[in-house]
């Protein structure tokens, strides 16, 4: 079938390079790996959110049938903690546990069942301690401390113009919450660690950044980095949940101890405990405007719950804070944003990285403002939208394209589906779907819009470069391009894009990939919508060098070039939150059309339309797929997804009760792309993967407000909220601004190890 060999170039919908093994079932994910004589590892986790470990007795487990090894903190050979930003997270809980689900021990046995039975036999005596499980409680002076350095992990202060003191004719003042969302990648955590005779280890793992994993793991194994080789296994989705270490250190420790390969795979329930989640948020936001619709002030107090360990909470907060006033020209801005430690499960990277939380707040507030001013909601956005040359609240000038007006107009222009007849539909075409709850009663349609924006690549001075090696090899059938990159493609289609770039630049059809491993230099993380730009730039650079080397000549032997691509430098934030923290920005406008059963509070989303500022679309089909998936995730946060906690313990760690959208929940999605090339970016690309997640949630909630007239200031919206059982959220007021030494995460001021920051500095 010819379509499968559509070896497209840049701009074409080239066939996915890894599609065939995925449809045949041959593609090997971290959880599919196998080795001869392997042992299975199972983790023992704390049920308590905060407790002292009085005693761990592993004797019973060690004696159990088939058990080869049991490890606890007592067995750690080198560094005892790890972390993306700060090494504050114990490999095994050491004397104290700080969240429910924290690993306390690991057991290796001949069979998975024996390992599970062994894990059950590890006897841990806990003395529960007072836990802090509310983010506002964490700020109070009498709150239990999660870590000695205090519960404030980072506070960012941004002051622009006159801050919150500006004169305005009309003010709105709102309070908004977003819940803890889970990435819920279908492919669970999994990997295989294989020890070698010389004391080194080969690790095959599903992850998002091989090199930052290696740096952390090696320190905990007490090995030089060259003695830990990481090869990428297939990743079944990530969306931020594979940035932090999960089973890697445990598996490597067991492998080195036992001298045998060790496989660890998390089941779904354990997966919820085994990775970070999206920070729940509370926002207090005031917009001040003139009657003519000009917004003159924004005053935001933002609070994020970081959970027990730092993960990437610092950068998430930085992101959220810098986007908190929205994609609008606001001359006077004050943002006070805090992320706190609590004894809740750790939070970190998830698609959007702080932008979804603030977008829900500012877009909800914008709708309030529009209503109060008597403005059409979209007209208010258009009136105030940023453009190229605008100054953001951080003082950063928007240098690249900022087609906010264009995306709004393109979104608005998508035809709204006509209203379906109320009666006579198939049962599943009513809100409530397969439940057969309606025949057309109490149906109300609503339409809502939201505009969102986000950065591309890493921020605040982080040089997340990407390396790639391209080799052009002659062959009987014509030249072949070989790409070697440590970049992770966990589904978004990066490798296909890289192949398209190589084909375009080298005028070849055949492109093959070498396995991704730490044999190559770092490509940085697959996150922050950065890889098309960064690894795309690296491949592009290598290809151009090959072309230069070939000029005039024939390809007689293989030519290889390695290129490291850097984005333009950024800076941190000064004491007033001013600087140039982001590389570039992209924007999206989303419209949601919903139908609500007003008596039952059930929702059917009829259509989502997303117009996105893409810079340049390398693969149209792939880009649409990314927008569609991102939109579904935003829809989940709007309607059904929430990790529910009771005293810091997850109550719904399963797919029965953590509800991700099914095919009956996600409507047809229309995606539009505005292509205004980003200068200095390869082909002018911008990142695609996160924006729809950012803007869909507020669009859906806006549509629900339009349908029901309810205030709805929390995501996800529950049926209780839509039928009016649940009153609007109250707040006891803005929490106090903490006293901090500066804008950086607090652990930095205590000289704690800088995780991936150290990795980047070490390369200089």
């Amino acid at each position: 079938m010819t379509v499968l060999t559509r070896r497209g170039r840049v701009g074409e919908s080239a066939t996915r390079v890894d599609g065939v093994p995925k449809v045949t079932g041959e593609y090997m994910y971290g959880s599919d790996l196998h080795a001869e004589h392997l042992l299975w590892g199972v983790t023992v986790r704390s049920p308590h959110a905060s407790a002292r470990i009085c005693r761990i007795d592993v004797a019973g487990a060690a004696r159990a049938a088939g058990v080869a090894c049991v490890l606890t903190a007592a067995d750690l050979p080198a560094a005892r903690t790890f972390g993306l930003e700060f090494a504050d997270q114990p490999v095994f809980a050491d004397g104290v546990v700080r969240y429910s689900g924290e690993p306390v021990a690991v057991v290796a046995a001949e069979t998975l069942e024996q390992a599970q039975l062994g894990a059950d036999l590890v006897s841990v005596e806990y003395e529960p301690l007072p836990a802090v499980t509310d983010m506002e409680q964490a700020l109070r002076p009498d709150a239990p401390l999660v870590h000695e350095l205090g519960n404030v992990l980072r506070h960012v202060h941004i002051r622009h113009g006159d801050g919150a003191d500006a004169d305005a004719e009309v003010w709105v003042d709102g309070y908004y919450e977003t819940a803890m969302q889970d990435q819920a990648a279908l492919g669970p955590e999994g990997g295989l660690a294989v020890p070698a005779a010389d004391g080194s280890v080969d690790l095959y793992v599903a992850t998002q950044w091989l090199h930052v994993d290696r740096q952390q793991i090696a320190l905990c194994l007490g090995l030089p980095e060259e003695m830990l080789r990481i090869t990428l296994a297939g990743v079944g989705g990530a969306f931020g949940s594979r940035e932090d270490i999960h089973m890697q250190i445990h598996a490597c420790l067991l492998a080195l101890r036992t001298g045998r390969p060790v496989k660890i795979v998390y089941g779904r329930e354990e997966s919820f405990h085994g990775h970070v989640h999206r920070h729940p948020s509370r926002s207090w936001i005031r917009y001040g405007a003139m009657r003519d619709g000009r917004i003159v002030a924004a005053d935001v107090r933002l609070l994020l719950d970081g959970g027990a360990y730092a993960s990437s909470s610092g950068p998430v907060l930085g992101n959220a804070a810098t986007f908190a006033a929205g994609p609008y020209e606001v001359p006077n801005v004050l943002v006070e944003a805090t992320v706190v430690y609590t004894n809740n499960p750790p939070c970190g990277a998830m698609r959007g990285f702080g932008a979804p939380q603030v977008c829900f707040a500012y877009e909800s507030a914008m709708d309030e403002l529009a209503a109060k001013l008597g403005f059409d909601p979209l007209e208010l956005r258009l009136r105030n939208a940023v453009r190229t040359g605008s100054v953001l609240p951080t003082g950063q000038v928007l240098e690249g394209p900022a087609p906010v007006r264009e995306v709004v107009e393109r979104c608005r222009a998508v035809p709204v589906p006509p209203e379906e007849p109320r009666e006579g539909r198939d049962a599943i075409a009513y809100p409530g779907g397969a439940g057969n709850v309606g025949r057309g009663e109490a149906l109300k349609r609503g339409v809502g819009y939201a505009v969102g924006f986000k950065n591309v690549a890493y921020s605040e001075g982080f040089d997340d470069a990407a390396e790639a090696t391209v080799t052009l090899r002659p062959s009987a059938e014509g030249p072949v391009a070989v790409i070697r990159t440590a970049a992770v493609d966990y589904g978004q289609g990066l490798y296909t894009v890289l192949a398209q770039i190589a084909r375009t630049e080298l005028d070849v059809d055949e492109v093959v990939f070498e396995p991704s491993s730490t044999d190559s230099g770092s490509a940085g993380s697959t996150s922050a919508s950065r890889q098309t730009t960064m690894s795309g730039g690296a491949v592009l650079g290598a290809c151009r060098e090959i072309r230069e080397a070939l000029v005039g000549g024939q390809l007689e032997e293989a030519i290889s070039r390695t290129f490291t691509y850097h984005h333009r430098p950024t800076t941190g934030l000064d004491e007033e939150g001013q600087g140039r923290p982001h590389v570039s920005f992209s924007f999206a406008a989303v419209r949601a059309v919903v139908e609500v059963d007003e008596e039952l509070g059930l929702v059917r989303v009829v259509q989502l339309a997303a117009a996105q500022d893409a810079g340049r679309v390398i693969n149209p089909q792939g880009a649409e797929g990314q927008v569609e998936g991102a939109a579904a995730m935003g829809l989940g946060l709007a309607l059904t997804e929430e990790i529910q906690l009771a005293d810091g313990a997850i109550r719904n760690a399963s797919f029965t009760d953590y509800l991700i959208p099914t095919i009956l929940d996600v409507p047809p999605i229309v995606s539009e792309f505005v292509e205004e090339p980003e200068p200095d970016a390869p082909y002018g690309v911008k990142g695609i993967g996160e924006l729809a997640t950012v803007a869909v949630t507020p669009a859906v909630v806006a549509a629900l407000r339009a349908a029901t007239g309810r205030a709805l200031n929390r995501a996800p919206v529950r049926p209780d909220d839509l039928v009016g059982i649940e009153p609007s959220l109250r707040t006891s007021g803005r929490p106090p601004v903490p006293d901090v030494p500066g804008q950086r995460p607090i652990p930095e001021y205590h000289g704690l190890g800088l995780g991936q920051q150290q990795l980047m500095k070490a390369r200089e």
């Binding site: 066939t15 449809v23 045949t24 989705g237 966990y490 569609e628 998936g629 579904a632």
Partner: protein, 153 residues
């Protein structure tokens, strides 16, 4: 307990623990890792297989229940050199991203098209309600079904 089951046309006699699932049997005993374990409870459809010709979640079938029965998995639908029309359609329509849900979907869609060769969008969505995907937002999966129905034998 020893059972004899025919998987993808090949008869296997295997010793299984009493309560092991068919999914464990397929993946760990027989090395057929195409069927995936994403939820352990039949919510996600990633382990969809045919048991005596009927679409089921392998994680909910006890291995002992496959004794004397036939099982068919994604591996039987087609290989790299000869793809099933549903497999081709998934690749061509852009319905594959991370691919973890894909084998389960491919089996469920192949099953749907056998029963209903030209399903409506509503029928497609109802039939695939038990297959979860986190990457695609489902749009291109629906498109893949329509593409496959045009080419399915």
């Amino acid at each position: 307990m020893t059972i004899t089951t025919t998987v993808n046309g090949v008869e296997h006699t295997v010793d299984v623990p009493p309560a092991a699932s068919l999914l464990t049997l397929l993946r760990d005993e027989l090395g057929l890792t195409g069927s995936k374990n994403a939820c352990e409870q039949g919510e996600c459809g990633s382990c969809s297989v045919w048991l005596d010709g009927e679409l089921v979640c392998a994680c909910l079938v006890a291995a002992v229940q496959a004794d004397g029965r036939t099982v068919r998995t994604v591996e039987d639908l087609g290989g790299a050199d000869r793809l099933h029309p549903v497999q081709e359609a998934f690749v061509a329509a852009g319905a594959v991203q991370c691919g973890f849900c894909t084998p389960g979907f491919v089996v469920a869609v192949a099953d749907l098209l056998e029963c209903d060769p030209h399903p409506s969008d509503d029928a497609i969505r109802e039939a695939l309600a038990g297959n979860l995907c986190r990457c695609t937002g489902y749009s291109k999966i629906v498109a893949a079904v329509h593409l496959a129905e045009g080419t399915a034998a």
